[in-house]
Protein backbone atom coordinates (compact mmCIF):
# COMPACT_ATOMS: atom_id res chain seq x y z
CA UNK A 1 0.00 0.00 0.00
CA UNK A 2 1.38 3.31 -1.05
CA UNK A 3 0.68 6.31 1.10
CA UNK A 4 0.53 9.47 -0.94
CA UNK A 5 2.82 12.29 0.01
CA UNK A 6 -0.16 14.44 0.87
CA UNK A 7 -1.61 11.88 3.30
CA UNK A 8 1.79 11.34 4.88
CA UNK A 9 2.17 15.04 5.50
CA UNK A 10 -1.30 15.18 7.00
CA UNK A 11 -0.48 12.37 9.40
CA UNK A 12 2.79 14.10 10.29
CA UNK A 13 0.92 17.33 10.98
CA UNK A 14 -1.67 15.51 13.07
CA UNK A 15 0.96 13.90 15.28
CA UNK A 16 3.01 17.06 15.70
CA UNK A 17 -0.13 18.88 16.83
CA UNK A 18 -0.85 16.05 19.26
CA UNK A 19 2.69 16.30 20.66
CA UNK A 20 2.35 20.08 21.06
CA UNK A 21 -0.96 19.64 22.89
CA UNK A 22 0.50 17.06 25.27
CA UNK A 23 3.50 19.28 26.03
CA UNK A 24 1.20 22.20 26.82
CA UNK A 25 -0.92 20.03 29.13
CA UNK A 26 2.15 18.78 31.01
CA UNK A 27 3.56 22.29 31.31
CA UNK A 28 0.25 23.51 32.72
CA UNK A 29 0.06 20.81 35.37
CA UNK A 30 3.65 21.25 36.57
CA UNK A 31 3.83 23.79 39.35
CA UNK A 32 0.43 22.78 40.61
CA UNK A 33 1.38 20.86 43.70
CA UNK A 34 -1.02 18.58 45.43
CA UNK A 35 -2.31 19.05 48.95
CA UNK A 36 -3.02 22.18 50.94
CA UNK A 37 -0.63 24.78 52.23
CA UNK A 38 -0.90 27.50 54.84
CA UNK A 39 0.34 30.93 53.91
CA UNK A 40 1.27 33.07 56.89
CA UNK A 41 1.38 36.83 56.56
CA UNK A 42 2.57 39.48 59.01
CA UNK A 43 1.36 42.97 58.23
CA UNK A 44 0.49 41.86 54.71
CA UNK A 45 4.01 40.55 54.01
CA UNK A 46 4.35 36.86 53.29
CA UNK A 47 6.11 35.26 56.27
CA UNK A 48 6.15 31.67 55.06
CA UNK A 49 4.28 28.85 53.33
CA UNK A 50 3.86 25.53 55.15
CA UNK A 51 2.53 22.20 53.98
CA UNK A 52 -0.39 20.92 56.04
CA UNK A 53 0.88 17.37 55.53
CA UNK A 54 3.80 17.80 57.91
CA UNK A 55 3.33 18.27 61.62
CA UNK A 56 5.10 21.36 62.82
CA UNK A 57 5.02 24.37 65.10
CA UNK A 58 5.51 27.78 63.55
CA UNK A 59 6.60 30.76 65.63
CA UNK A 60 5.19 33.79 63.88
CA UNK A 61 7.35 36.74 64.87
CA UNK A 62 7.50 37.09 68.68
CA UNK A 63 3.78 37.24 69.17
CA UNK A 64 1.99 34.20 67.79
CA UNK A 65 2.51 30.47 67.53
CA UNK A 66 0.66 28.26 65.06
CA UNK A 67 0.58 24.47 65.04
CA UNK A 68 0.08 22.20 62.03
CA UNK A 69 -1.34 18.80 62.90
CA UNK A 70 -3.55 16.22 61.16
CA UNK A 71 -3.81 18.33 58.02
CA UNK A 72 -5.11 21.36 59.93
CA UNK A 73 -3.53 24.52 61.26
CA UNK A 74 -4.54 26.44 64.37
CA UNK A 75 -3.26 29.28 66.49
CA UNK A 76 -1.87 27.82 69.68
CA UNK A 77 -0.90 31.02 71.41
CA UNK A 78 -1.12 34.74 70.82
CA UNK A 79 0.03 37.75 72.77
CA UNK A 80 -3.06 39.89 72.51
CA UNK A 81 -6.02 40.73 74.74
CA UNK A 82 -8.86 39.24 72.71
CA UNK A 83 -7.43 35.84 71.59
CA UNK A 84 -9.93 35.84 68.73
CA UNK A 85 -7.46 33.97 66.53
CA UNK A 86 -7.20 31.14 69.06
CA UNK A 87 -10.98 30.89 69.35
CA UNK A 88 -11.14 30.46 65.57
CA UNK A 89 -9.99 26.87 65.99
CA UNK A 90 -8.63 24.53 63.31
CA UNK A 91 -8.78 25.34 59.61
CA UNK A 92 -7.88 23.18 56.62
CA UNK A 93 -10.01 24.12 53.63
CA UNK A 94 -8.79 26.33 50.82
CA UNK A 95 -9.87 29.93 51.38
CA UNK A 96 -10.32 29.62 55.13
CA UNK A 97 -8.26 31.94 57.26
CA UNK A 98 -7.27 32.84 60.80
CA UNK A 99 -6.69 36.50 61.58
CA UNK A 100 -4.96 38.03 64.57
CA UNK A 101 -5.85 41.68 64.18
CA UNK A 102 -3.78 43.15 67.06
CA UNK A 103 -0.59 41.47 65.79
CA UNK A 104 -1.52 41.79 62.11
CA UNK A 105 -1.05 38.09 61.46
CA UNK A 106 -3.06 36.26 58.81
CA UNK A 107 -3.05 32.55 58.02
CA UNK A 108 -4.73 31.49 54.78
CA UNK A 109 -5.13 28.02 53.29
CA UNK A 110 -4.16 27.84 49.61
CA UNK A 111 -3.50 25.59 46.66
CA UNK A 112 -5.27 22.33 47.03
CA UNK A 113 -6.39 19.88 44.36
CA UNK A 114 -10.00 20.68 45.09
CA UNK A 115 -11.49 23.90 43.79
CA UNK A 116 -11.05 26.39 46.59
CA UNK A 117 -13.05 29.39 47.70
CA UNK A 118 -11.78 32.87 46.95
CA UNK A 119 -12.85 33.82 50.41
CA UNK A 120 -14.55 32.17 53.37
CA UNK A 121 -16.68 34.28 55.70
CA UNK A 122 -18.83 33.70 58.72
Amino acid sequence: MKISKKTRNDILLFFSLLVIAVIILIAASIGRKEGSYAEIYIDGELYGVYSLNEEMTVDIGDTNRAVIKDGCIYMESAECPDKTCMKRGRISKVGESIVCLPNRVTITIINSKEKGNDVVIG
Binding site: G44, L101, V119, V120, I121
Partner: protein, 342 residues
Protein backbone atom coordinates in the same frame (compact mmCIF):
# COMPACT_ATOMS: atom_id res chain seq x y z
CA UNK B 1 2.56 23.65 -2.70
CA UNK B 2 1.52 27.19 -1.88
CA UNK B 3 -1.91 26.07 -0.68
CA UNK B 4 -0.26 23.51 1.58
CA UNK B 5 1.85 26.16 3.29
CA UNK B 6 -1.24 28.28 3.76
CA UNK B 7 -3.18 25.43 5.32
CA UNK B 8 -0.32 24.58 7.69
CA UNK B 9 -0.11 28.22 8.73
CA UNK B 10 -3.84 28.33 9.30
CA UNK B 11 -3.64 25.22 11.49
CA UNK B 12 -0.84 26.75 13.53
CA UNK B 13 -2.91 29.88 14.04
CA UNK B 14 -5.78 27.73 15.23
CA UNK B 15 -3.40 26.00 17.62
CA UNK B 16 -2.26 29.33 19.04
CA UNK B 17 -5.83 30.47 19.47
CA UNK B 18 -6.58 27.37 21.50
CA UNK B 19 -3.54 27.88 23.71
CA UNK B 20 -3.79 31.64 24.25
CA UNK B 21 -6.74 31.78 26.67
CA UNK B 22 -4.87 29.54 29.12
CA UNK B 23 -2.00 32.01 29.35
CA UNK B 24 -4.16 35.08 29.88
CA UNK B 25 -2.30 38.31 30.50
CA UNK B 26 -4.22 39.04 33.71
CA UNK B 27 -2.87 37.75 37.00
CA UNK B 28 -4.47 37.50 40.44
CA UNK B 29 -3.12 39.72 43.21
CA UNK B 30 -4.01 40.11 46.87
CA UNK B 31 -3.50 42.82 49.48
CA UNK B 32 -4.37 43.14 53.18
CA UNK B 33 -5.18 46.20 55.29
CA UNK B 34 -5.52 46.14 59.05
CA UNK B 35 -6.58 49.66 59.94
CA UNK B 36 -10.14 49.91 58.56
CA UNK B 37 -13.45 49.42 60.38
CA UNK B 38 -11.83 47.57 63.28
CA UNK B 39 -11.41 44.49 61.11
CA UNK B 40 -9.22 43.01 58.39
CA UNK B 41 -9.70 44.08 54.79
CA UNK B 42 -8.66 41.89 51.88
CA UNK B 43 -8.59 43.05 48.27
CA UNK B 44 -8.24 40.37 45.59
CA UNK B 45 -8.15 41.40 41.98
CA UNK B 46 -7.08 40.62 38.45
CA UNK B 47 -4.71 43.12 36.86
CA UNK B 48 -2.12 43.21 34.08
CA UNK B 49 0.75 43.99 36.43
CA UNK B 50 1.45 44.36 40.12
CA UNK B 51 1.87 48.13 39.69
CA UNK B 52 -1.59 48.33 38.11
CA UNK B 53 -2.92 46.36 41.08
CA UNK B 54 -1.17 48.57 43.66
CA UNK B 55 -2.47 51.70 41.97
CA UNK B 56 -6.05 50.37 42.00
CA UNK B 57 -5.69 49.26 45.63
CA UNK B 58 -4.68 52.78 46.60
CA UNK B 59 -7.82 54.18 44.99
CA UNK B 60 -9.96 51.60 46.79
CA UNK B 61 -8.16 52.10 50.09
CA UNK B 62 -8.59 55.88 49.97
CA UNK B 63 -12.34 55.54 49.56
CA UNK B 64 -12.57 52.89 52.30
CA UNK B 65 -10.50 55.01 54.66
CA UNK B 66 -12.70 58.05 54.05
CA UNK B 67 -15.80 55.96 54.82
CA UNK B 68 -14.07 54.53 57.90
CA UNK B 69 -13.45 58.04 59.23
CA UNK B 70 -16.86 59.45 58.28
CA UNK B 71 -18.83 56.68 59.98
CA UNK B 72 -16.63 56.30 63.07
CA UNK B 73 -18.76 56.99 66.13
CA UNK B 74 -15.93 56.75 68.65
CA UNK B 75 -13.03 58.81 67.30
CA UNK B 76 -12.68 62.26 65.84
CA UNK B 77 -10.43 63.14 62.94
CA UNK B 78 -8.96 66.49 62.10
CA UNK B 79 -10.69 68.45 59.40
CA UNK B 80 -13.83 66.32 59.04
CA UNK B 81 -17.24 66.21 60.64
CA UNK B 82 -18.05 62.56 61.19
CA UNK B 83 -20.62 60.53 63.14
CA UNK B 84 -18.65 61.20 66.33
CA UNK B 85 -19.02 64.95 65.70
CA UNK B 86 -22.74 64.54 64.99
CA UNK B 87 -23.17 62.68 68.29
CA UNK B 88 -21.18 65.32 70.14
CA UNK B 89 -23.50 68.01 68.78
CA UNK B 90 -26.66 66.14 69.77
CA UNK B 91 -29.17 68.60 71.20
CA UNK B 92 -26.81 71.48 70.43
CA UNK B 93 -26.85 72.33 66.74
CA UNK B 94 -27.12 70.88 63.23
CA UNK B 95 -23.79 69.98 61.70
CA UNK B 96 -22.75 70.20 58.05
CA UNK B 97 -21.46 66.82 56.91
CA UNK B 98 -20.17 65.00 53.83
CA UNK B 99 -22.77 63.89 51.25
CA UNK B 100 -21.96 60.27 52.00
CA UNK B 101 -23.21 60.65 55.59
CA UNK B 102 -26.41 62.25 54.32
CA UNK B 103 -26.92 59.49 51.77
CA UNK B 104 -26.38 56.66 54.23
CA UNK B 105 -28.48 58.23 57.00
CA UNK B 106 -31.40 58.66 54.62
CA UNK B 107 -30.99 55.06 53.51
CA UNK B 108 -30.79 53.93 57.15
CA UNK B 109 -34.13 55.59 57.82
CA UNK B 110 -35.64 53.70 54.89
CA UNK B 111 -34.19 50.45 56.24
CA UNK B 112 -35.70 51.24 59.65
CA UNK B 113 -39.13 51.35 58.00
CA UNK B 114 -38.48 48.27 55.85
CA UNK B 115 -37.34 46.18 58.82
CA UNK B 116 -39.98 47.44 61.23
CA UNK B 117 -37.36 49.00 63.48
CA UNK B 118 -35.05 45.97 63.71
CA UNK B 119 -32.31 48.07 62.08
CA UNK B 120 -32.02 51.26 64.09
CA UNK B 121 -28.89 53.38 63.63
CA UNK B 122 -30.11 55.69 66.41
CA UNK B 123 -29.65 53.13 69.20
CA UNK B 124 -26.05 54.17 69.89
CA UNK B 125 -26.87 54.82 73.56
CA UNK B 126 -27.81 51.16 74.13
CA UNK B 127 -25.01 49.76 71.98
CA UNK B 128 -22.44 51.81 73.85
CA UNK B 129 -23.37 50.16 77.15
CA UNK B 130 -22.90 46.72 75.61
CA UNK B 131 -19.70 47.77 73.87
CA UNK B 132 -18.25 49.02 77.16
CA UNK B 133 -18.96 45.72 78.91
CA UNK B 134 -17.57 43.73 75.99
CA UNK B 135 -14.35 45.72 75.86
CA UNK B 136 -13.77 45.77 79.60
CA UNK B 137 -14.60 42.06 79.76
CA UNK B 138 -14.96 42.09 83.54
CA UNK B 139 -17.61 39.39 83.82
CA UNK B 140 -20.25 42.13 84.02
CA UNK B 141 -23.45 42.87 82.05
CA UNK B 142 -24.90 46.33 81.53
CA UNK B 143 -27.32 47.29 84.35
CA UNK B 144 -30.96 46.72 83.50
CA UNK B 145 -32.07 50.24 84.49
CA UNK B 146 -29.18 51.79 82.58
CA UNK B 147 -30.28 49.90 79.45
CA UNK B 148 -33.89 51.03 79.93
CA UNK B 149 -32.81 54.61 80.45
CA UNK B 150 -30.65 54.47 77.30
CA UNK B 151 -33.54 52.96 75.32
CA UNK B 152 -35.50 56.15 76.00
CA UNK B 153 -33.05 57.92 73.70
CA UNK B 154 -33.21 55.70 70.62
CA UNK B 155 -36.07 57.30 68.70
CA UNK B 156 -35.01 57.51 65.05
CA UNK B 157 -37.43 60.40 64.50
CA UNK B 158 -35.04 62.49 66.57
CA UNK B 159 -32.56 62.14 63.71
CA UNK B 160 -33.09 65.09 61.39
CA UNK B 161 -31.40 64.88 58.00
CA UNK B 162 -31.50 67.95 55.77
CA UNK B 163 -30.35 67.11 52.27
CA UNK B 164 -30.61 70.72 51.05
CA UNK B 165 -28.09 72.08 53.52
CA UNK B 166 -26.25 68.73 53.84
CA UNK B 167 -26.68 68.85 57.60
CA UNK B 168 -27.60 66.45 60.37
CA UNK B 169 -29.11 67.17 63.78
CA UNK B 170 -29.95 64.92 66.71
CA UNK B 171 -32.83 66.49 68.65
CA UNK B 172 -32.22 64.51 71.82
CA UNK B 173 -29.07 65.43 73.73
CA UNK B 174 -28.62 61.86 75.00
CA UNK B 175 -29.16 60.25 71.64
CA UNK B 176 -26.31 58.90 69.51
CA UNK B 177 -25.80 57.22 66.17
CA UNK B 178 -23.97 53.92 65.64
CA UNK B 179 -23.45 53.00 61.99
CA UNK B 180 -21.79 49.65 62.73
CA UNK B 181 -24.60 47.60 61.20
CA UNK B 182 -24.56 49.34 57.84
CA UNK B 183 -21.35 51.34 57.23
CA UNK B 184 -19.21 48.46 55.96
CA UNK B 185 -21.86 47.47 53.43
CA UNK B 186 -22.11 51.07 52.27
CA UNK B 187 -18.31 51.28 51.94
CA UNK B 188 -18.51 48.17 49.73
CA UNK B 189 -21.03 49.98 47.51
CA UNK B 190 -18.68 52.94 47.21
CA UNK B 191 -15.93 50.57 46.07
CA UNK B 192 -18.29 48.93 43.57
CA UNK B 193 -19.01 52.36 42.11
CA UNK B 194 -15.37 53.28 41.58
CA UNK B 195 -14.08 49.89 40.36
CA UNK B 196 -14.91 50.48 36.66
CA UNK B 197 -12.47 53.42 36.71
CA UNK B 198 -9.61 51.29 38.11
CA UNK B 199 -7.31 48.91 36.26
CA UNK B 200 -8.88 45.81 37.79
CA UNK B 201 -10.93 43.62 35.45
CA UNK B 202 -12.43 41.68 38.34
CA UNK B 203 -12.17 42.18 42.07
CA UNK B 204 -13.33 40.95 45.46
CA UNK B 205 -13.19 43.07 48.61
CA UNK B 206 -13.76 41.45 51.98
CA UNK B 207 -14.36 43.97 54.76
CA UNK B 208 -14.35 41.55 57.68
CA UNK B 209 -17.30 39.45 56.53
CA UNK B 210 -18.82 42.05 54.22
CA UNK B 211 -17.84 40.84 50.77
CA UNK B 212 -18.38 42.61 47.47
CA UNK B 213 -17.58 41.05 44.11
CA UNK B 214 -17.04 42.78 40.82
CA UNK B 215 -16.78 41.34 37.32
CA UNK B 216 -15.85 37.90 36.08
CA UNK B 217 -12.49 36.18 36.32
CA UNK B 218 -10.44 35.71 33.13
CA UNK B 219 -11.89 32.19 32.79
CA UNK B 220 -15.36 33.76 32.87
CA UNK B 221 -16.28 32.22 36.20
CA UNK B 222 -17.47 34.24 39.17
CA UNK B 223 -15.91 34.60 42.61
CA UNK B 224 -16.34 31.58 44.82
CA UNK B 225 -17.41 32.47 48.35
CA UNK B 226 -17.63 29.96 51.13
CA UNK B 227 -19.75 30.61 54.20
CA UNK B 228 -18.52 28.87 57.32
CA UNK B 229 -20.91 26.64 59.15
CA UNK B 230 -21.67 27.95 62.63
CA UNK B 231 -22.56 24.37 63.59
CA UNK B 232 -19.27 22.63 62.97
CA UNK B 233 -16.20 22.63 60.77
CA UNK B 234 -16.29 23.35 57.07
CA UNK B 235 -18.60 25.35 54.88
CA UNK B 236 -22.35 25.57 55.27
CA UNK B 237 -22.58 26.45 51.58
CA UNK B 238 -20.74 28.04 48.71
CA UNK B 239 -21.92 30.59 46.23
CA UNK B 240 -20.47 31.83 42.96
CA UNK B 241 -20.89 35.57 42.59
CA UNK B 242 -20.12 38.37 40.25
CA UNK B 243 -21.43 41.85 40.97
CA UNK B 244 -23.10 40.63 44.16
CA UNK B 245 -22.45 41.27 47.86
CA UNK B 246 -22.39 38.57 50.52
CA UNK B 247 -22.74 39.52 54.18
CA UNK B 248 -22.82 37.28 57.22
CA UNK B 249 -23.86 38.15 60.76
CA UNK B 250 -23.03 35.62 63.45
CA UNK B 251 -23.35 35.35 67.20
CA UNK B 252 -19.78 33.98 67.39
CA UNK B 253 -18.07 36.97 65.72
CA UNK B 254 -17.90 39.38 68.63
CA UNK B 255 -18.91 38.37 72.11
CA UNK B 256 -17.95 38.32 75.75
CA UNK B 257 -18.65 35.87 78.52
CA UNK B 258 -20.44 36.50 81.82
CA UNK B 259 -20.81 33.62 84.27
CA UNK B 260 -20.12 31.11 81.52
CA UNK B 261 -22.80 32.49 79.20
CA UNK B 262 -21.91 34.11 75.89
CA UNK B 263 -23.25 37.56 75.01
CA UNK B 264 -22.78 38.56 71.37
CA UNK B 265 -22.84 41.97 69.68
CA UNK B 266 -26.16 41.98 67.80
CA UNK B 267 -28.54 43.74 70.16
CA UNK B 268 -32.33 43.54 69.76
CA UNK B 269 -33.90 47.05 70.04
CA UNK B 270 -37.00 45.42 71.57
CA UNK B 271 -35.43 43.37 74.36
CA UNK B 272 -32.18 45.42 74.62
CA UNK B 273 -30.33 42.08 74.83
CA UNK B 274 -28.48 40.01 72.21
CA UNK B 275 -30.83 38.34 69.71
CA UNK B 276 -31.44 34.67 70.43
CA UNK B 277 -33.41 33.42 67.40
CA UNK B 278 -30.49 32.63 65.10
CA UNK B 279 -26.78 31.95 65.29
CA UNK B 280 -26.04 33.06 61.74
CA UNK B 281 -27.78 34.99 58.97
CA UNK B 282 -26.24 35.40 55.51
CA UNK B 283 -27.56 37.83 52.91
CA UNK B 284 -26.65 37.83 49.21
CA UNK B 285 -27.79 40.80 47.11
CA UNK B 286 -26.72 43.55 44.73
CA UNK B 287 -26.67 46.39 47.26
CA UNK B 288 -24.05 46.15 50.03
CA UNK B 289 -25.59 48.64 52.44
CA UNK B 290 -28.96 46.91 52.18
CA UNK B 291 -27.35 43.49 52.60
CA UNK B 292 -25.42 44.65 55.66
CA UNK B 293 -28.53 46.18 57.25
CA UNK B 294 -30.63 43.12 56.43
CA UNK B 295 -28.10 40.69 57.91
CA UNK B 296 -28.45 42.48 61.26
CA UNK B 297 -32.19 43.13 61.04
CA UNK B 298 -33.11 39.58 59.97
CA UNK B 299 -30.91 38.21 62.74
CA UNK B 300 -33.36 39.88 65.13
CA UNK B 301 -36.63 39.17 63.28
CA UNK B 302 -38.88 36.10 63.51
CA UNK B 303 -38.36 33.82 60.49
CA UNK B 304 -41.77 34.26 58.88
CA UNK B 305 -41.63 38.04 58.93
CA UNK B 306 -37.94 38.01 58.02
CA UNK B 307 -38.71 35.86 54.99
CA UNK B 308 -41.25 38.49 53.89
CA UNK B 309 -38.75 41.33 54.31
CA UNK B 310 -36.10 39.35 52.42
CA UNK B 311 -38.44 38.61 49.49
CA UNK B 312 -39.64 42.21 49.31
CA UNK B 313 -36.03 43.39 49.18
CA UNK B 314 -35.10 40.85 46.51
CA UNK B 315 -32.29 39.47 48.68
CA UNK B 316 -31.20 35.86 48.99
CA UNK B 317 -31.04 34.87 52.66
CA UNK B 318 -29.87 31.82 54.60
CA UNK B 319 -30.80 31.57 58.29
CA UNK B 320 -29.28 29.17 60.81
CA UNK B 321 -31.56 28.96 63.82
CA UNK B 322 -30.06 28.50 67.29
CA UNK B 323 -31.32 24.89 67.24
CA UNK B 324 -29.23 24.27 64.10
CA UNK B 325 -32.05 24.23 61.54
CA UNK B 326 -31.17 25.89 58.24
CA UNK B 327 -33.73 27.96 56.32
CA UNK B 328 -33.46 29.56 52.87
CA UNK B 329 -35.73 31.77 50.82
CA UNK B 330 -36.50 31.17 47.14
CA UNK B 331 -33.69 33.32 45.75
CA UNK B 332 -31.11 31.68 48.01
CA UNK B 333 -32.34 28.32 46.74
CA UNK B 334 -31.56 29.47 43.19
CA UNK B 335 -28.16 31.03 43.88
CA UNK B 336 -26.51 28.47 46.11
CA UNK B 337 -24.81 25.34 44.85
CA UNK B 338 -22.86 22.44 46.25
CA UNK B 339 -24.15 22.67 49.79
CA UNK B 340 -22.72 19.74 51.71
CA UNK B 341 -24.73 20.16 54.85
CA UNK B 342 -27.46 22.42 53.59
Amino acid sequence: MKSKIVSVLLLLCLCLLLVLPSCSSFALYEKFYYDLFDTITVIRGYAKSSSDFEESCNTIYNELQTCHKLFDAYNEYEGINNIFSVNKNAGVSPLTVDGRIIELLEFSKQMYEKTDGALNVAMGAVLELWRDCREKNENKLPYEDELKEAAEHCDINGLVVDKESSSVYLEDRNMSLDMGAIAKGYACDRVTALLPSTKLTAALVNLGGNVMTYGEKPDESGWNIGVNSPLGEGNLFEVECSDLCVITSGDYQRYFVVDGKRYHHIIDPETLYPGSLFCQVTVICENGAMGDALSTALFLTELEKGMEIADLSGAAVVWVATDGTVYKNQRAEELIFAGDEI
